[in-house]
């Protein structure tokens, strides 16, 4: 297990990148702490697979270095990095038995058979496949195969990190939950450094200690699930995390209040001069419908999703979403909305502005 350091890292698939747009992965410095579970979250094409492939050594970055426990591995081949990876589609060796599949990485490294047998049994117990060790891998279900690839990654005790590349894509929804729980437990028991790539916010938020959100080749925020929810550093994080995502309204800041379409809303803290494209962000959870206070809204539609109601409303031509508790009656007099000042964030050119 190791701490992984990315130093000055960037990658472009073009031979001679000119502008920043040519980079699939823009410059990045980051430490992945030893033994932590990270999720790499972003929509497809945001550079998260590129980053993962650089860490696993399938790709050599155009610039910068990768260090494993302080040792430079930028140009080291995959095998030398001692990492394990679970891919989007289950990769198993079809003609081998489950046992031989699990033993494969150890045998390739010349470990003696007694040790191999011991490890294989241990791992089989962990992933719950002891009873089918002698079966051929061919013909197993997708989730069984994915468990085998996971087991193959864990069979080596000394792996520096376990990488997951959207490992639950092909798994049935009810098995997803089980596998994710199992992963979390394995992480808890063995403390591997884990990096989990996904575009599914639920997967990311439930799995990881820390979530790394990527957008357009750039890491826009690294934080705990709570931080991502409460203080999105970038409008993309606000929009991407949460369901529905954060509301954004054009705004002007005036001391302790913000001018938005239809009126003003108070802020808890003051801001200095803010320039550029200024927006106010507030999550639907933090807007309350009212009949006499706040900004004028017109309700367009109400979606009852069981736990709560999602209200699609219009605020001076801007669509906003409001989440109301399931038991709250919504009458025709509810023509106003109140923003909770404690949860308002201010953005300039998409980046969050810290209050004074």
């Amino acid at each position: 297990m190791a701490k992984i350091t990315l130093e000055n890292l960037a990658h472009s698939y073009l031979p001679n990148p000119q502008s920043e747009d040519d980079y699939a992965l823009k410059q990045l410095d980051h430490d992945w702490d030893d033994g932590a579970a990270y999720a790499l979250l972003g929509s497809s094409g945001c550079g998260k697979s590129t980053l993962l492939n650089i860490i696993s050594g399938l790709l050599i970055p155009s610039q910068g270095r990768i260090l494993f426990d302080g040792q430079d591995v930028t140009r080291a081949p995959t095998a030398e990095r001692n990492i394990a990876q679970v891919f989007q589609f289950p990769v198993v060796y079809d003609t081998m038995t489950v046992r031989d599949n699990l033993a494969f990485p150890l045998r390739n490294r010349g470990r003696d058979e007694a040790y191999v047998a011991e490890r294989v049994n241990e791992i089989a117990r962990m992933i719950g496949m002891e009873h089918m060790l002698s079966r051929k891998a061919q013909g197993l279900t997708a989730d069984a195969k994915q468990k085998i690839s996971l087991g193959r990654g864990m069979v080596r005790k000394d792996v520096n990190a376990l990488l997951f590349d959207e490992p639950l894509t092909v798994i049935d929804p009810h098995m997803k939950w089980e596998l994710r729980t199992q992963l979390k437990k394995l992480h808890h028991d063995f403390g591997h450094t884990m990096i989990y790539v996904t575009h599914d916010q639920t997967e990311a938020l439930t799995f990881a200690d820390k979530v790394v959100v990527m957008y357009d080749g750039r890491v826009v925020q690294i934080g705990t699930p709570e931080e991502l929810f409460e203080r999105p550093e970038h409008t993309f994080v606000g929009y991407f995390i949460g369901s529905p995502g954060m509301n954004l309204l054009p705004a002007k800041i005036d001391g302790r209040q913000a001018l938005v379409p239809g009126g003003t809303t108070p802020l808890v803290q003051g801001y200095g001069p803010v320039s550029g494209n200024v927006q106010l962000g507030i999550r639907p959870e933090h807007i309350r419908l009212s009949s006499d206070q706040g900004l004028p809204v017109t309700i367009r539609r109400i979606e009852d999703v069981g736990r709560h109601k999602i209200i699609r409303a219009d605020l001076m031509g801007h669509e906003i979403n409001i989440i109301a508790p399931e038991d709250q009656p919504i009458g025709p007099d509810m023509t106003r909305a109140v923003f909770d000042p404690a949860h308002v964030n201010i953005y300039a050119d998409d980046w969050r502005v810290a209050p004074l």
């Binding site: 095998a79 990876q85 494969f104 990485p105 390739n108 061919q138 013909g139």
Partner: protein, 288 residues
């Protein structure tokens, strides 16, 4: 894929049935008819029962031809399959060169078979052919029309030249269907090149390789034109394979009865072996 039961589908198959009946069943009945009759010419036929089959089974002629045929098919499969796999493993995966290589490799497959024969007939001649001339210059007394070993070597090299690309293209198609993740996983598992081949590439190629072996077996078992042009079946009968012998019998000597009996047994041998292949293959299909 789940298929629905629908006997009306027979109507869709009907055109094929009519056409194949015309081009296969009727001629085959003629053959069966001949195989049990004898003639002294003038279209007068006598019932000969199973005599021709009995004669044929007792004659060395067919057994020798069958022996040569089996040896030939075995040798070319033993060379072409491994060589084809080896070539496929080294083919460029994508880009301009992949297209060029594909087209160049396919060329021999598109040359009429008698021209293939002609090419090698010329190529191997000591006086005007590059191969023959070179071998002669190296001090080898090369002569494919007189020397049995040379004749066999020439016919085999010609077949390898003609058909290895087919095996390679099939194997290549199999290799192309392997997702990159497999190779990446193998790297991470520190698998050796041999293990990558043995546990990833070979299993994925198994299906197409069965097709390759089936096609090469069938086609080599029916080989006629190419060796006929090069060696004419000689020296002596050294390269007289089943088809060459059959054509000699039927069109050369007009021994219709024996030729027909020969035909049927020939066909049956191919059917039997192909059926085994087919069964194995459909089982692979199901598992894959």
């Amino acid at each position: 894929m789940d298929k629905t039961v629908n006997n009306k589908a027979w109507f869709l198959v009907l055109p094929v049935l009519v056409l194949v009946a015309f081009s296969a069943v009727i001629p085959l009945m003629t053959v069966v008819n001949y195989s049990v009759q004898d003639t002294f010419g003038n279209n007068v036929f006598f019932w000969a029962g199973l005599d021709w089959f009995r004669d044929l089974l007792a004659s060395d002629r067919m057994w020798n031809a069958l022996g040569r045929q089996l040896a030939f098919s075995a040798i070319i499969i033993a060379i072409e399959i491994p060589l084809g796999i080896f070539v496929a493993l080294n083919m460029p995966k994508r880009g301009f060169w992949a297209s060029v290589v594909l087209v160049l490799m396919s060329l021999p497959l598109l040359i009429p078979w008698n021209v293939v024969g002609t090419i090698w007939q010329i190529f191997g001649r000591v006086d005007i052919g590059l191969l023959g001339y070179t071998l002669d210059a190296l001090g080898i007394d090369y002569n494919y029309t007189q020397n049995t070993v040379h004749a066999w070597a020439t016919v085999i090299v010609m077949d390898v030249w003609h058909w290895t690309s087919l095996v390679a293209l099939l194997a290549y198609a199999g290799l192309q269907s392997i997702p990159d993740a497999y190779y990446q996983a193998a790297k991470i598992d520190q698998a050796s090149r041999w293990k990558v081949f043995r546990y990833i590439e070979l299993p994925k190629m198994a299906g197409v390789l069965m097709i390759a072996i089936l096609l090469r077996f069938m086609d080599s078992f029916m080989i006629y034109t190419e060796p006929f042009v090069v060696t004419g079946g000689g020296p002596g009968n050294a390269t007289t394979f089943l088809s060459i012998d059959l054509v000699k019998m039927a069109l050369g000597q007009f021994d219709l009865g024996p030729a027909a009996a020969f035909s049927l047994m020939y066909f049956l041998v191919i059917l039997l072996i192909s059926w085994v292949f087919y069964t194995v293959m459909t089982n692979l299909d199901k598992r894959g």
